[in-house]
C-alpha cells in the first residue's frame, strides 16, 4: 500500500459550488429552526450539519482525492463514535421503559437551576 504524494488541483468552480452549498444549507438550518417539528427538530439540524461536515471533509480537506486509506481511517473513526453514542443512548433514553420507578427527571431539583 503506497501513499503517493500526488497533488490534486481542485478547480475553483468546485470550491465555489461547495461554498454556495454550505451557505444554502446554513440558511436552511436557520429557516427550519423557526418551524416546529417536535422531536425531529434536533434530527433535522444534525442531518444538515452532518452533510455540511461531509462536504468540508471531502472537498476542502481533499479526502475525496487523497489516498483511500485516509478515507477509511476517517470513516472508521466516525463509525466507532456512532457506536459509542448510539449504544449509550440505548441506556440513557430507555431508563424508564420497563421499570417506571426510575423515571424521575433528575434535573428538576438540580442546584444549577436554582441559581
Amino acid at each position: 500500500m503506497s501513499i503517493k504524494a500526488h497533488h490534486h488541483i481542485t478547480p475553483l468552480k468546485t470550491y465555489l459550488s461547495v461554498g454556495v452549498a454550505l451557505m444554502v444549507l446554513t440558511i436552511i438550518t436557520v429557516v427550519v429552526s423557526f418551524v416546529h417539528f417536535g422531536a425531529f427538530n434536533l434530527i433535522i439540524a444534525m442531518v444538515i450539519a452532518s452533510i455540511k461536515a461531509v462536504l468540508v471533509a471531502l472537498f476542502f480537506m481533499h479526502l475525496l482525492y487523497d489516498n483511500k486509506l485516509f478515507m477509511a481511517i476517517f470513516s472508521i473513526s466516525l463509525i466507532f463514535v456512532s457506536v459509542f453514542i448510539i449504544l449509550t443512548m440505548f441506556d440513557t433514553m430507555q431508563r424508564d421503559s420497563i421499570d417506571e420507578v426510575k423515571a424521575k427527571p433528575i434535573k428538576k431539583n438540580a442546584i444549577i437551576y436554582d441559581k
Binding site: 500500500m1 472508521i76 473513526s77 466507532f80 457506536v83 459509542f84 449504544l87 449509550t88 440505548f90 441506556d91 440513557t92 433514553m93 430507555q94 431508563r95 424508564d96 421503559s97 420497563i98 421499570d99 426510575k102 433528575i106 434535573k107 438540580a110 442546584i111 444549577i112
Partner: protein
C-alpha cells in the same frame, strides 16, 4: 544446538556499551529489554500487594493492615497490574523484541517513537508512584464516580498517570500497524505472517482506536474533581453512569488488548511444540480481527446493576455472547493442531497448555456472567474476581510466560534450567487453581468482592485461596532466579533450539544489531512442518 562462537561475540547486547547506549538506543530489541526491566519491576510490586491482600484475608479480623490501607492495597494491585503490567506487557516486551524479527525487518517503522513510548511509560508510571507515596488511591482501578470525585486520596495524579500511559500504548500501536504494513520481508504476504504478528496487528488497532477514549474519560474525571463541571454529577444535570459508559468503552476493548497478543503467542507455541502445521490459519487470523471488532460492542455488560436501562442491558447481554464465537474458533483450532501432533512438553508448551485449560474456564464463566439474569446475582462477588483472574492471569499471564520462555533463548543467546522451569510452571499452575477456583465457590455463595472483612462461614475458603497465592509466589521467585541465572550463566544455544520455522529463529541468538545478515526472502509458510524439519539449525525439506 550448535553454539557458533563468532555469532555470540557480536550482537545487539554487546555492540555498544555504557548506560547511555541503552537509554538512547533506537534498537527495538534493546527497547524491548528496557521495557522488560521496568514492567517486571511493576509486576513485582503488583504481585507483592496481591500477597499482602491475600494475607490480610486469611481471617476476617485484622491480620496486618487496617481497612483503609486494605482499600489502597487492592487499588494499587489493580491499577499497577492493569496499566503498568498487563496492557503493555506482551506488546511492549515481546512484541517489540520479536515482531520486527518475525517479519524480517531491521527495526520497527519509527524507532524514535518507539523509544519515546518507553520514556512516556516511565513518565506515566512516576505519576502512579507519586500518588502511591502521597496517600495512595482507594477507588479501585476503575475510578468510578461519584466516589472518585469525592475521596480525599490522590485520584488526580493517579488518573493523570494512566492518561500518560495511554500515549505510550498508542505510540506502540501506531508503530506496529505501520511496521506490519510497510516493513515485511520480500515474499512475506499477509497470509504468510506468523499468527503472533496478526494478533499484534489486531491489538494495535484496538490500542489506537480505544485508548483516546480513556484519555477523554480521565480528563473529564480530573475536570470534574478540579473544576466541578458536573458532567457526572446528577445535582448539576450530569449522570454518574455516563462515567461507566466512557470508562468501559475503552476498558472492555482493553481486556482484548491484554488477551489478543497472548493468543498470538499460544498459536506460535502450540504449532512449534506439536511440530504440526497450525490448523485453520485463516480462521485464527480473522478471529483476532473479529474479537477486536466485537470488543467495542459489549462494554455495557460491566454495568448490568449500575442503573443502566434494561433495554441496553439486554442488548449488551446478547452482544456479549458473540465474543464466544471467535474465542471458540481459536480454542478449537489449537486443539485440532494438537491432534496427532508430535507433542513435546518443554516449559513454553506447559504454559501454553495451562493457558488452554485456564482460559477455557475463564471464557465459559465469562459467558455465564454475560447472561443478564445470572449476572445480577453474581455481580461484584468473588465469582467475577475469579472469572477475570482466570482470563487475565490464567490467560494472558500464562501466555506471557509461554512467550517469555519460548523467546528467552533468542533474547539472551542462553537458555534456562529446564528442570527448575518445569517445577515453577507446576507450582504456578497448581497455586493458581487453588487461589482462584476457591473464589468461584466463594462468589457463588455470596462473598462480595473488595470487602475487608467477611462472615465466618467464608473463612475456610478464604484461607485456602490465600495458601494458593503463596504457592504462586513461590513459583515466581523460582522463575526469577533461574531466568536471571540464564541471562548471566545459562548454557549457550544456537539459532533454533525449538526447531521453529518463523524468521526470528533463522538469525543468530542473540540477534545482531541489524537483526539479519541479509534481508530474508520468504518462501515458506510460518508453520510448514509438513514439509520442513529443523536439525542443528538447518532446514531439511522432506520432499528432497
Amino acid at each position: 544446538m550448535s553454539g557458533n562462537k563468532t555469532e555470540v561475540e557480536k550482537n545487539y547486547l554487546n555492540d555498544q556499551k555504557g548506560i547511555k547506549s541503552w537509554l538512547l538506543t533506537l534498537d527495538h530489541k534493546r527497547i524491548g529489554i528496557l521495557y522488560l526491566y521496568s514492567i517486571m519491576f511493576f509486576f513485582f510490586i503488583g504481585g507483592m500487594s496481591a500477597l499482602l491482600i491475600r494475607l490480610e484475608l486469611i481471617r476476617p479480623q485484622e491480620v496486618i493492615v487496617g481497612a483503609d490501607t486494605y482499600n489502597q492495597l487492592f487499588t494499587l494491585h489493580g491499577a499497577i497490574m492493569i496499566f503498568l503490567f498487563i496492557i503493555p506487557g506482551i506488546p511492549a516486551i515481546l512484541g517489540n523484541f520479536v515482531l520486527p524479527l518475525m517479519i524480517g525487518a531491521k527495526d520497527v517503522a519509527f524507532p524514535k517513537l518507539n523509544l519515546a513510548s518507553w520514556y512516556v511509560y516511565i513518565f506515566g508510571s512516576l505519576f502512579a508512584v507519586y500518588s502511591l507515596v502521597t496517600g495512595a488511591v482507594d477507588t479501585g482501578w476503575t475510578f468510578y464516580t461519584p466516589y472518585s470525585t469525592s475521596t480525599d486520596t490522590s485520584v488526580v495524579s493517579m488518573t493523570l498517570g494512566a492518561f500518560i500511559l495511554g500515549f505510550s500504548s498508542i505510540f506502540t500501536g501506531i508503530n506496529f500497524i505501520v511496521t506490519i504494513h510497510k516493513l515485511r520481508a520480500p515474499g512475506m504476504t499477509w497470509f504468510k505472517m506468523p499468527l503472533f504478528v496478526w494478533a499484534s496487528y489486531a491489538t494495535a488497532i484496538i490500542q489506537v482506536l480505544a485508548t483516546p477514549v480513556l484519555g477523554i474519560t480521565l480528563l473529564l474525571l480530573i475536570a470534574e474533581r478540579l473544576l466541578g463541571i458536573g458532567i457526572f454529577d446528577p445535582a448539576m444535570g450530569g449522570d454518574p453512569v455516563l462515567y461507566q459508559h466512557f470508562f468501559w468503552f475503552y476498558s472492555h476493548p482493553a481486556v482484548y488488548i491484554m488477551i489478543l497478543p497472548g493468543m498470538g503467542i499460544i498459536s506460535e507455541v502450540i504449532a512449534v511444540f506439536s511440530k504440526k502445521k497450525i490448523f485453520g490459519y485463516n480462521a485464527i487470523a480473522f478471529s483476532s480481527l473479529g474479537i477486536a471488532l466485537v470488543s467495542f460492542l459489549v462494554w455495557g455488560h460491566h454495568m448490568f446493576t449500575s442503573g443502566q436501562s434494561e433495554f441496553a442491558a439486554m442488548i449488551f447481554s446478547f452482544l456479549t455472547f458473540l465474543v464466544g464465537i471467535p474465542s471458540g474458533i481459536k480454542m478449537f483450532n489449537w486443539l485440532a493442531t494438537l491432534y496427532k501432533g508430535s507433542i513435546t512438553f518443554e516449559t513454553p508448551m506447559l504454559y501454553a497448555l495451562s493457558f488452554m485449560f485456564l482460559f477455557a474456564i475463564g471464557g465459559f464463566t465469562g459467558i455465564m456472567l454475560g447472561a443478564l439474569s445470572v449476572d445480577v446475582h453474581l455481580h461484584d462477588t468473588y465469582f467475577v474476581v475469579a472469572h477475570f483472574h482466570y482470563v487475565m492471569m490464567g490467560g494472558t499471564v500464562m501466555a506471557f510466560l509461554a512467550g517469555l520462555h519460548y523467546w528467552w533463548p533468542k533474547i539472551w543467546g542462553r537458555t534456562y534450567n529446564e528442570f527448575w522451569a518445569r517445577i515453577a510452571a507446576f507450582l504456578i499452575f497448581v497455586g493458581f487453581n487453588v487461589t482462584f477456583f476457591s473464589q468461584f465457590i466463594l462468589g457463588a455463595k455470596g462473598m462480595p468482592r473488595r470487602y475487608y472483612t467477611y462472615l465466618d462461614q467464608y473463612q475456610p475458603l478464604h484461607a485456602f485461596s490465600s495458601v494458593g497465592a503463596f504457592v504462586i509466589g513461590a513459583g515466581f521467585f523460582i522463575m526469577a532466579f533461574y531466568l536471571i541465572h540464564a541471562m548471566v550463566r545459562g548454557k549457550r544455544i544456537g539459532r533454533n533450539p525449538w526447531g521453529a520455522l518463523t524468521l526470528e529463529w533463522t538469525t543468530t541468538s542473540p540477534p545482531s544489531h541489524h537483526n539479519f545478515e541479509e534481508i530474508p526472502v520468504v518462501k515458506n509458510g510460518p508453520y510448514d512442518f509438513d514439509r520442513i524439519r529443523v536439525e542443528n539449525d538447518k532446514w531439511i525439506y522432506k520432499e528432497e
